[in-house]
Structure formats: structure tokens, C-alpha cells
Symmetry: C2
């Protein structure tokens, strides 16, 4: 397998953490320079017409994109321990929290970065006020996770899951919008220390 | 089961179409008036702290939110025909296209509506220029689906799937941003006629 990757972006890291949690090391990482527009090159657009990373290219040439789809494919295909839960109800709660982490944390952090930094202004129109609002939305949504972690060891319940991976990748990325966890969210801090202690965190 | 619903919103309709495709009729629909803020009432926030519909309340009281998680739960739990594919690769491709439909069509149409109509201006700050850009992004992303449907009967391949449900709910909702399918996308028009012919379309 080949992973079309970028070491700064939050979404490829979600895939790398899933690979690490599953113990999968037999894959090739191909780093794309997003600032230089490697992801807009025709060779890459043939793999993902949306021009987005990550892309996972399987050994038969099939190219999968969309982070959530790649992570779930890897989870279904490799090893017996699942990051997505065992029973339909557990799976639904993990999926629900994974989506909450994606929509509230990953998306708002990405919108905040894209619309305030001007990093991609050669290929999109930034609306700085919308970027600032997205950063506010990101900050406000941390409360939802703080409340959940008051009564749960991990974001979706008693087991580490894909929702923890999605959340931590957003929270680490949020340094680019200058938001860090602080003492106002002690349960998130406790959870963050526990995620950092896992080998997969370094992925 | 109880579905907390709204007849105008695209996301609850995705759930109603899944229920219809699975032949599930034994559930109660509870319509929420979003303009009046029914979804911000403490009784509803106890079911979903994000204040969003749809919510599926199971008979044991467990409340599931996030449309994608609800649809997948229903698919896993009821009947043998899956809207999510049979093999890991089929499932990955359907998930990929479902996410493309959600991020490019549902989200852009919703952002376009929310930021240009002022419908929710009592509870959010609309940025009209960002709304117009989101409508442009919606229009541009139709090309991705038109291209896919040149060589595929349904959006994710040879079988009707959850990706078709997600896409048609966005496309019908897009009347509120004044975008309709036209002769510039003949394959989308052919596909749309085929989706309309299914019983579940009326859900």
C-alpha cells in the first residue's frame, strides 16, 4: 500500500494513527508539498479528482480517498481489534462521536486556518471573518467533549476508538489557530495525556 | 423507535429514506419546528447536546445523533440488504462517495442557505459572501458527480447505495439556494430520474 501523505496536515495523520494502532508498518509514505500544489498535479488528480490528501493506493491500484472511508477500510481489513466497536450500538456511538469530532473540531480548525492564514489563497478566496468565527466555533465545541469526558475514559465510552484519533489530530493541529487546551478543560487534559502515552500518538 | 424530524431539512430525510429502503415503518415521527427553536429546548438538548436533528431514540431510550451514524446503525440492524456494500472494498468506495456527497453537496448547500437566507440569524452570525462562495462550491462540485455517473449507474458504482440517498437529499434541498439540475449535467439528470422512481424517494 501507498499513503499519499503530508506531515503537517491533520487528516493524513488520522490514517497514520490507525495504521499504527493496527500494527501495520508495511506501507510506503509519499509526502506531498501542499504549498507547492503537488496535490493539484494531474498525476495526483487521477488518484483523487478532489485533489485532497490522504489517498491510500492499494496494491491492485485502487485509490481510496476521504479520511473516514480509508480509516474504516483499514479497520475492517486488518487485525481483530476494532477501533469502531463490537456491537451495533457501540458502533453507532463511536461513529456518532467520530463525526462530532470531525465536524466540530477538524472542520472548524481547518476552516479557521484556511480563512485566516491565507495559506491556500492561490486556490481559494479566504473570508477572514468567517475564519475567526470558525475558530470561535472550534473553541466552543470543546465544551461538548469536556462534558463527555467527565463521565467517560475515552471520547466514545470505555474503549479507545477512532473518535479519539480524530479528536487528537484536530487538537494538535489547532496550534496553527493558536488554541491550546488549558485548565478550563481538565478532563480533556487528562484524556490528552492518556492519548499522548500511546505509541500511535507519534505517527 | 422515535425519529426527531423536520420535513424541510435534508438530514432527517436521509434517515427517512434509509428507513423506507429497509422497509421499516414501525417508528414514530416527531416534527420539530426549527424556526421556533424546538431543537434548542432543554428537553431536546438532553437527547442531543448539539441541538441538531435528526435524533433517533431507540426503545431502550438511547438517543443517536449524527445522520451518518444513524443511517449506518439502521443499515446494520435491519434486514439483509445493505446500502453500504458487501465486501470491504465495495464498502470503502460507497463510504468514500457518501462522504463526497455529504461534504460537497449537503454541507455546501446548508452553508449557502444558512449564510445567505438569514433563517437562523437569531442563533448564528451569517456571512453572506461566504454563503455565496458555498453556493459556487456546491455548483462546481456537481461536476465530480456528473463525471462519476458517466461510467456508473449509481453514484458509488453498480448498486444503489447510501451515497445516492445523501446526494439526492442535498440536490432536492438545493432549491433553497436556487440551484437545479439542468442540461449541463445529463448523467445527473438520468440518475435523478432513476432515484425519483424509487418508493423511498417520497420519504
Amino acid at each position: 500500500m501507498k499513503l499519499y501523505d503530508n506531515s503537517h496536515a491533520p487528516n493524513p495523520r488520522r490514517v497514520r494513527m490507525v495504521l499504527a494502532e493496527k500494527g501495520i508498518t508495511d506501507y510506503e509514505k509519499i509526502n506531498l508539498d501542499l504549498g507547492a500544489g503537488d496535490n493539484l498535479h494531474p498525476d495526483f488528480l487521477a488518484k483523487n479528482p478532489a485533489g485532497k490528501i490522504p489517498v491510500l493506493e492499494l496494491d491492485d491500484g485502487l485509490c481510496l480517498s476521504e479520511t473516514g472511508a480509508i480509516c474504516r477500510y483499514l479497520d475492517e481489513t486488518f487485525s481483530e481489534t476494532s477501533l469502531y466497536g463490537a456491537t451495533p450500538k457501540q458502533r453507532a456511538l463511536i461513529d456518532m462521536w467520530d463525526r462530532r469530532a470531525e465536524f466540530n473540531l477538524v472542520f472548524n480548525a481547518a476552516l479557521g486556518f484556511q480563512h485566516t492564514s491565507g495559506f491556500f489563497k492561490d486556490r481559494m478566496t479566504p473570508f477572514p471573518e468567517w475564519g475567526l468565527q470558525s475558530i470561535t466555533n472550534y473553541r466552543n465545541s470543546l465544551t461538548l467533549f469536556e462534558q463527555q469526558l467527565q463521565n467517560n475514559e475515552w471520547i466514545a465510552g470505555p474503549e479507545f476508538s477512532i473518535a479519539d484519533i480524530t479528536a487528537v489530530c484536530a487538537i494538535d493541529f489547532s496550534k496553527v489557530i493558536k488554541v491550546r487546551l488549558d485548565d478550563s478543560t481538565p478532563n480533556l487534559q487528562r484524556w490528552y495525556a492518556a492519548v499522548r502515552a500511546r505509541d500511535s500518538y507519534k505517527a
